[in-house]
């Protein structure tokens, strides 16, 4: 039985939907892989919220600059045409709607576009939100890349998030290992199935009503 797309294939599929010249902010994890799959003839400019536009790939270990990191606190480089700025300017880019696409990982996403990716809400959890709530409210297109279910097989695409929300009604498209899915006024709607995956398999793994591809 097919398990659908790999992490790399999910990232590559998401990259296909990002227009040339887009300003893009990538969350930690699978979203970071998008940089490896920019389609031929396109150029994306990467924003990292700690104050850099024009982020380049990670440096060789002996070429690290301790003062050049991304929001995930990993060492990065810059591309020609980069710029540095302070945090208020950086979040003006986010909140002011200047970033075209944000690709995020998630714990849950609901049929109405709600996203929960910052806290399990567990009583002993130490809450930590970072820039997630600014990103989901500010960036024009919020894409999610995620495994379709948790490691224990629970659906991550649900009718209603059980975890505390990061933002309500903000997600427009979801890339899972099984399918590309849009959030529509009618709920989840399959756009494309991964090779070897049937709609019934997707439906079974989804915790909400989902419509087949048109």
């Amino acid at each position: 039985m097919s398990t659908g797309w790999t992490r790399e294939q999910m990232a590559a599929r998401a990259a296909l939907d990002i227009p040339d010249g887009s300003y893009v902010n990538l969350g930690i994890g699978i979203p970071e892989l998008v940089t490896q799959f920019v389609p031929e003839g396109r150029e994306f400019i990467y924003h990292t919220e700690n104050g850099l536009l024009g982020m380049g790939p990670p440096p060789a270990e002996d070429e690290r600059d301790l003062d050049l990191m991304n929001a995930g606190k990993k060492y990065v480089t810059t591309v020609p045409g980069a710029s540095y700025f302070h945090h208020a300017d950086s979040f003006s880019m986010i909140r002011g709607g200047h970033i075209d696409v944000c690709v995020l990982g998630t714990m849950q996403v609901a049929a109405n576009g709600d996203i929960a990716n910052w806290s399990t809400g567990a009583p002993d959890a130490i809450p930590a939100v970072g820039g997630a709530m600014d990103l989901v409210q500010g960036v024009r297109n919020i894409y999610v890349i995620t495994q379709h279910t948790t490691k224990t097989g629970e659906p991550k695409l649900v009718e209603k998030c059980s975890y505390p929300l990061t933002g309500p009604g903000v997600v427009s498209r979801i890339y899972t290992n099984l399918a590309v899915i849009d959030v529509t006024p009618d709920g989840f709607q399959v756009v494309e199935l991964a090779p070897g995956i049937t709609f019934e398999e997707v439906e079974k793994s989804t915790g909400a009503t989902i419509l087949p591809a048109k």
Partner: protein, 236 residues
């Protein structure tokens, strides 16, 4: 490669539509994008709302645009100056509307639009006629007025050095409102004295990151409003 370069000032302002809200950089003569403004005069868009600190001088640039009957409303902090004749005349004739905004509030409202802040509180104008009709509120025992963001469809801006990604630097006090306007307009159009390759501006020295800029047109030898006025020039 991303390239925001426009072939000409005419092409750069081509899609400014009737009724558009247009921010124009500059403080008096300093930083005024004269070539872009004159291109807008040639282009002919009407019923514009213009946002600038002033209303132009002599019969060139902003003043010429107003004199040409293209502006129905002016949002500014200081509509009169020693060289400003066009606006005062039309205003007294009731032919142009004025929204007077204190300079700091004007700057902050423009920044707020660029930063996704729909409103903020400021002490400026409290206890004056300019606060009339505005919502007021106390914080920590002091009164403040609420001010909304100020958005625009277009910004016309002059800079010193630009690259094809739209990264900009300015020259001295010609910077003034321009970086804020770049943030606040849907379409930001920039004339630059020097167009250099991406990477030629040190990332530490970029004042306006390219994300805020849509079009860049090189005007290698821009005229200065003060020079035109000293020559008694008029446009068109």
């Amino acid at each position: 490669m991303i390239n925001k370069k426009s072939p000409s000032v005419a092409a750069a302002v081509e899609d400014v539509f009737d009724g558009a809200v247009v921010m124009v950089g500059g403080f008096g003569a300093s930083g005024s994008p004269i070539e872009l403004i004159h291109a807008l005069i040639d282009q002919g868009a009407k019923d514009l709302t213009l946002i600038n600190n002033n209303t132009g001088n002599g019969e060139v640039g902003l003043a010429a645009l107003i004199a040409n009957g293209q502006v129905s409303k002016m949002i500014c902090s200081f509509p009169r100056s020693s060289q400003s004749r066009v606006f005062p005349k039309l205003y007294r004739e009731g032919k142009i509307e004025l929204e007077l905004v204190p300079q700091g509030t004007l700057a902050e409202r423009i920044r707020a639009a660029g930063a996704g802040i729909p409103a903020f509180y400021t002490p400026t104008t409290v206890g004056t006629v300019l606060a009339e009709g505005k919502e007021q509120r106390e914080f920590n025992g002091r009164s403040y007025v609420m001010e909304p963001w100020l958005e625009a469809d277009f910004a016309l801006v002059k800079c010193e050095v630009a690259d094809p990604l739209g990264n900009l630097t300015y020259n001295k006090t010609a910077r003034n409102f321009s970086p804020l306007m770049c943030m606040a307009a849907t379409t930001t159009i920039v004339q630059t004295k020097h167009l250099v390759a991406a990477g030629d501006i040190d990332p530490e020295h970029v004042i306006t990151p390219g994300i805020f800029v849509n079009r860049v047109v090189e005007v290698a030898d821009p005229v200065h409003e003060d020079t035109l006025i000293a020559e008694g020039a008029s446009y068109p």
